[in-house]
């Protein structure tokens, strides 16, 4: 629940408000039974979905720990019998994979920052101004997602080539930023919607320019939401395969195509090595997200009131 604390007082639903008046005794008892039931239901849901969500991850781990000759056994060993760290070692020894990882982090991080900046301006415009064409622009942002991206890629490749951006981080970052923008704009617009207009009026009366109001008053209020939007954008840049494959070269390649090129070959699919590598590269992101998740949920909370 700490997530709630990251939301500014102005927009916080009154969670810390006065406690509810004491209920009459019978109702209280019924509520406690109710709560127990719902807690059981909650755990059941977590359990079932947890199996679905986490067993594959467990299986990744088992596979990664299996020697090559045991990985293809049938029926498979559900608990690893022979354990080896060779695949993790092999990952550590492959310098190219570090390069991919670094590229992924750079590309995804800059994508996140750029998306947030661009989307914040746009979201603010949609949220706090009324002008002709506003709805069209909003729909347009959404509509931009509706054409096959593989086909956009063909022309996009030529465009980046003309501007000399091919095989640069910029090509990847600009593409990912654009494709992640609809989500970010929507999230940030929602957050700006919750910033009271009175606050802006007050700033204006105090003589603050619109730019200053946006940057020094509104932006800090929306900061948690920006972090959240940035995390979503990060994942988009982190996960993409086809753009990263096409627009980058060996030096700027990110993890998804890099992993496939390394382990899914002409002659061989190295499942255990692929799983080991994937686990290693995902772990830092999972850890980072675990720490940042209070923003992920809390930051969005403000924006979630409206849509």
């Amino acid at each position: 629940m700490s997530a709630m604390d990251t939301v500014t007082p102005a927009v916080r639903p009154a969670k810390g408000g006065p406690p509810a008046p004491p209920a009459p005794a019978p109702v209280k008892r019924r509520r406690r039974a109710d709560q127990r039931r719902s807690s059981v239901a909650a755990w059941a849901a977590v359990g079932v979905i947890g199996l679905f969500g986490l067993l594959p991850v467990y299986w990744m781990l088992v596979t990664a720990l299996s020697p090559d000759d045991r990985a293809f056994r049938f029926p498979p060993d559900l608990f690893p019998r022979a354990v080896t760290l060779e695949h993790f070692r092999a990952f550590a020894e492959n310098e190219a994979l570090f390069r991919y990882m670094l590229n992924s982090v750079v590309v995804a991080s800059i994508t996140a920052v750029l998306s947030v900046v661009v989307s914040a301006y746009m979201g603010y415009s949609f949220s706090k101004f009324r002008y002709r064409g506003r709805t069209s622009l909003m729909n347009f942002v959404l509509a931009s997602q509706m054409f096959p991206q593989a086909l956009l890629l063909i022309t996009l490749y030529a465009v980046f080539s003309e501007f000399g951006l091919l095989n640069t981080y910029a090509a990847l970052i600009l593409s990912f930023t654009t494709f992640t923008m609809p989500l970010c704009v929507w999230m940030l617009k929602g957050i700006f919607d919750t910033v009271p207009d009175a606050l802006l009026e007050a700033a204006a009366i105090d003589g603050a320019s619109r730019w200053r109001t946006l940057h020094t008053i509104v932006a800090p209020l929306a900061a948690p939401g920006m972090v959240a939007a940035g995390l979503f954008a990060f994942v988009r840049g982190w996960n993409d395969f086809i753009f990263a494959l096409t627009l980058a070269d060996r030096d700027t390649q990110t993890l998804p195509p890099g992993l496939v090129n390394t382990y899914i070959g002409e002659f061989q699919t190295s499942w255990p090595a692929l799983m080991a590598a994937s686990l290693i590269v995902s772990l830092p992101v999972v850890i980072a997200f675990t720490f940042l998740q209070r923003y992920l949920v809390g930051g969005l909370t403000a924006g979630a009131v409206k849509s």
Binding site: F72, E162, V260, S270
Partner: protein
């Protein structure tokens, strides 16, 4: 800014919030083309005109690219990187290594060749030459080829419509590999040479517990493995511009395949990787693979004796005396016309024909050389499996029926999808093959 003002000016009525605005939304959503067109116009106005042509670069430059999927794959990476590095230091050239995953390689290469972004030497699967050569960016390498001492069969694999675009790097074939230990266990004393004997052998193998008698490809990716079987049954598949798939022989082949499938003699959802994995565990009697597959399979095997049990088997024939069918398989290196193409040609020639290099390449990756001298090198000549393979299987191997067409990949997919439809019971062999013929004919006419 002006663009937006224009758009605003076009918008009818006032921006009164309410029903009117919303009613227009759908229309506006659909009318976005107007705005997009403005954007496109603005962009294309300031963008230089498209498509930088090939052949414009300095052919004598000492910097060139080398595109190869092998440059990144775990197994081949060190070997190929060493070849590149050695050549760089020996010749004082600079090579830009480029790599894409094998499965996406042709797509990526096409896109980049089209954009004029590929220079220098390019590794290709011989099946892809027909897709790339018509783009008109590849160099005729006849002169270099004449200096290489390649075998005739190898040279053929680098030709497209009579022009030598590719220097052969490795030439072999895809054929059957058997597990002789399992065959013994099933009481099969002689290698089956006819389809009839082959099916009997499969049924005998089926009686062993937990065995897939023939790990034939049943996934789309490699279902093109059925082409040699269709040819075995007597179909030519294609004659000139006429597709003959759908004739009795091809239908018979598919019906036979379906029977094997229904009787559990071949398994569902198998591709080459699966077949190797299963074979490595001693659970497969026969499977289709290139000669190099042996190494990949043994790497996964827990029983070192498996290597000795692997034997090449010429594909059984319809009537004894027929030539066994096999699919030619290999890699070539082509050179893109333009920047550094001279140096790239020398690099390609060296890589594919220098005896020490190709012998080492064979020793470390089991990819057979393409020159008479390379094949004669003790490292190669003394490898019994490869020698036997070359003599018994590659000798009668033929190229894929549609390799010379740009649409090869799609055509193979069409056949694969139709065969799959038969296997899973979605349609009869006759209907499916007729449908395939119509679809392929349509594709060829485009």
């Amino acid at each position: 800014m002006s663009r937006f003002r224009t758009r605003q000016g076009l918008a009818p009525g006032t921006a009164r919030p309410g029903a009117g605005l919303r009613r227009r939304d759908t229309l506006r959503l659909l009318g976005l083309g107007a705005m997009g067109a403005a954007g496109a116009g603005a962009l294309s106005a300031c963008a230089p005109s498209g498509g930088s042509g090939g052949g414009g670069g300095d052919a004598s430059a000492s910097t060139f690219g080398f595109s190869s999927w092998s440059l990144n794959e775990e197994a081949s990476k060190p070997v190929v990187e060493a070849i590149v590095a050695d050549w760089e230091s020996a010749e004082d050239v600079s090579i830009d290594a480029v790599s894409y995953p094998y499965n996406d390689y042709l797509t990526q290469l096409t896109l980049k060749l089209r954009g004029g972004q590929v220079t220098g030497a390019v590794q290709l699967d011989i099946a892809w030459l027909g897709a790339l050569a018509p783009m008109g960016r590849l160099l005729d390498l006849s002169d270099a080829a004449a200096r290489g001492g390649y075998t005739e069969a190898a040279l053929t694999s680098g030709q497209y419509e009579g022009t030598q675009y590719g220097l052969p790097w490795t030439t072999a074939s895809i054929g059957l590999i058997a597990n002789s230990t399992l065959l013994d266990a099933a009481g099969i004393t002689e290698q089956p040479t006819t389809i009839e004997q082959f099916e009997e052998a499969l049924r005998a193998l089926k009686d062993l517990e937990g065995i897939t008698p023939y790990a034939a490809a049943t996934k789309v990716a490699q279902l093109k493995d059925i082409f040699p079987w269709m040819r075995t049954f007597g179909s030519t598949l294609v004659e000139g511009d006429t597709v003959t798939i759908g004739d009795d022989a091809s239908v018979e082949a598919v019906e036979w395949y379906k029977r094997l499938y229904d009787d559990g003699l071949i398994a569902a959802d198998v591709d080459r990787f699966d077949a190797r994995a299963l074979f490595a565990q001693g659970r497969v009697g026969f499977y289709d693979d290139a000669v190099i597959g042996k190494g990949a399979t043994i790497a996964q095997a827990s029983d070192p004796a498996l290597a000795d049990a692997m034997v090449p088997v010429p594909r059984p024939v319809l009537a004894s005396g027929d030539a066994p069918q096999a699919l030619l398989w290999g890699h070539v290196i082509v050179v893109v016309d333009g920047e550094g193409s001279d140096a790239a040609t020398e690099f390609a020639l060296h890589t594919t024909s220098d005896t020490a290099t190709v012998a080492d390449y064979f020793e470390r990756l089991a990819l057979p050389p393409t020159t008479a001298e390379g094949l004669g090198d003790p490292a190669v000549a003394q490898d019994a499996f490869t020698t036997e393979w070359t003599e018994r299987i590659t000798a009668t191997a033929t190229p894929g029926p549609f390799w010379h067409l740009t649409q090869n990949a799609q055509i193979e997919e069409v056949v694969a999808q139709q065969v799959q439809a038969v296997l899973v019971g979605g349609s009869s062999a006759r209907d499916a093959m007729n449908a395939a013929r119509e679809e392929i004919t349509g594709l060829m006419e485009r």
